[in-house]
Amino acid sequence: MSQEYEVLCIRCPKGCRLRITVEGNAVHVVGFACLEGKRFGEEEVRNPRRIVTTTVRILNARYPRLPVRTAEPVPKDRIRDVIDALKGVVVETPVRRGQVIVKDVAGTGVDVIAERDMEAVG
C-alpha cells in the first residue's frame, strides 16, 4: 500500500511543489529542482519537525502572557500535545530569555524556553 503527500519545499525561496510517494520503506520524491529538495522531501515524510511557539500565563509582569518556544523542533504530529501541555502553566517574574519553563514537554524530550526577559512590575 502506498501513500502520497504533497509538500512545499522550504529550503529556498523557489518553493518547489514536491509530490512524495511512500511505499513501505521506499520514499520516492518528484518535483524537486535540486538535491536539497529531494533530501527535504524524504525527511519531511519520514520525520517532519517544527519549532512550536506560543505563550504561557505570567504573573506580576508588564503583560499577562510570556512568549515561549520549544528549544528544538518537535515532531509535527506532537505540536498539538505541546500546546495542550502548556495550557495550565503559570510562571512568576522575573524570567530570563532562554530560561527553561517546562522540561521535556509532553514527553518529546525537548524543553520549552522563555523567548524574552520579563521583570516584576507594580
Binding site: 512545499l8 529556498c12 506560543t54 505563550t55 503583560y63 502572557r65 500546546i83 523567548e115
Partner: protein, 401 residues
Amino acid sequence: MAAAVKLAGKGYDVALIERKEELGGILDQCIHDGFGTKIFGKALSGPEFAGHFMDEASKLGLDVHLNTYVKSVNAGGDVKELVTVSPRGVERIKARSIVYAIGCRERHPFEIKVGGTRPAGIYTAGMVQRLVNLYGILPGKRVLIVGGGDVGMIVARHLYLEGVESITVVFPEEFFVGLPRNVQQCILDFNIPFRPRTVVKEIVGKERVEGVILVKVDENWRPIPSTEEFYPCDTVIFSVGLVPYAKKLRAIGAEIDPRTRGPVVNEFFESTVRGVFAAGNLVQIFDYVDDAVESAYIAADGVEKYLAGEGRLDNPVPFKPGSNVRTLTPHRLEWEDERPVVAFLRPAVEGRAWIIVRGGNGEILKKEFRQYVRPSTLERIEIPREAIDGAEEVYIDVAGV
C-alpha cells in the same frame, strides 16, 4: 536600536528615543521563529532577536528615553533640535544628526475598498497578534483572514493553535504571495482552508460582525458578477500590506518616493534633508529583519561620514529602477567612499533571472544570476564602486531567463 548600538559602540554620544515602554518595536509580538537566519545563522523568535540588541544597548549604557514622543523636529541647520513629550514633561534635545527608524503601518480596510458596515470584530493582523501574544485574548470564534501574505498566514497559524474554531483565508491572487515556507508551516501543516481569487465585498453586521459577502475576482482582481456568497463569521482580520510611516519625514521636508512610499535616500540611507537618515521598514518593507538591520548599520556608517564632514560627489549619480523593477533603493549615489553600494530592489517578475546593473547608455556594469526571484521577496545586490565609476546614471533591470 541597531544603528544606536553601532554608533555608541564607536564612542559617539547617542540618545535613543522610543514611544513605547520598552525597546524592540513590533518584534515583541512576533513570537514565531525565523528571525535572524542571515545575521545569527539560526532561526530566532522576534523577542529573542530584539533581546540581543537590548543586551548590547544596556552593555553600552545607551541613553534610552522610553515613553517618549517626538513632538517636533527642526532639522534644517547643522544642529538639529527635537521637542519631546514624556512623563518627565516637555524636553528639548539637540543633536548633530538624526536616524529615523519608525517603521511602517498596516494598510486598513478603507484602503482596499471594503463596503458594508463597521461593527465590532474588525481588526488588522498586527492588532490581533498583539491581543493574542501579549494579552492572551482571542479576537473571536469564527475568523476570516483577508490577505495571503506572510503576516496573514502567521496569524492564521497562531489562532489555529490557540483554539479558534474556524479560520478561512481569502486573497485575490491565484496563490499565497508570502514565503513558501510559511505556506507550508502555517497553512498546509494544519489544513487551514483558503480561497484564492476571492475578496470581501461587504461586511455584514450591526453590533458585531455577522458575516461577510465574498466575491470571486478575475486575474485583474475585477469582481466576477453574480459570484457573491454570504460567509458567516464573527471576526474579520485584514492583513493587506504594510506602508512605510513616512509622515514624520515628510513633515521635515524630506522627499518621498511614490514607489516605496518611504523617503528618497542616498547610498548611506540619508534622506534629502542633510544629516537626517532613515533605516528599516520606514525606508521600504524588508522581508527579512536581517536586511532591515543591515540598512541601520549602513545608516550608522553614513552618520559617521556626515559627522566627520567627509566629501560628497560633485555630481550625484541617480539610481533608477529599470525594466521589471518595482522599487529600488538607494535613489542616488552621493558620497565619496570605497565600500560597495548595497542596493535593494523588488522584482516585478517571477522565476530564474539576471539582475543587471547598467549605465545610462545601456552599458552593462554588473550582472548577477538569481535561481528564483519573486515580487514578494526583496532582492539585495552589492555593487562595487569601481563598476559604477564614471557612470552618469545607473539603472537596475531584472531580466527573466
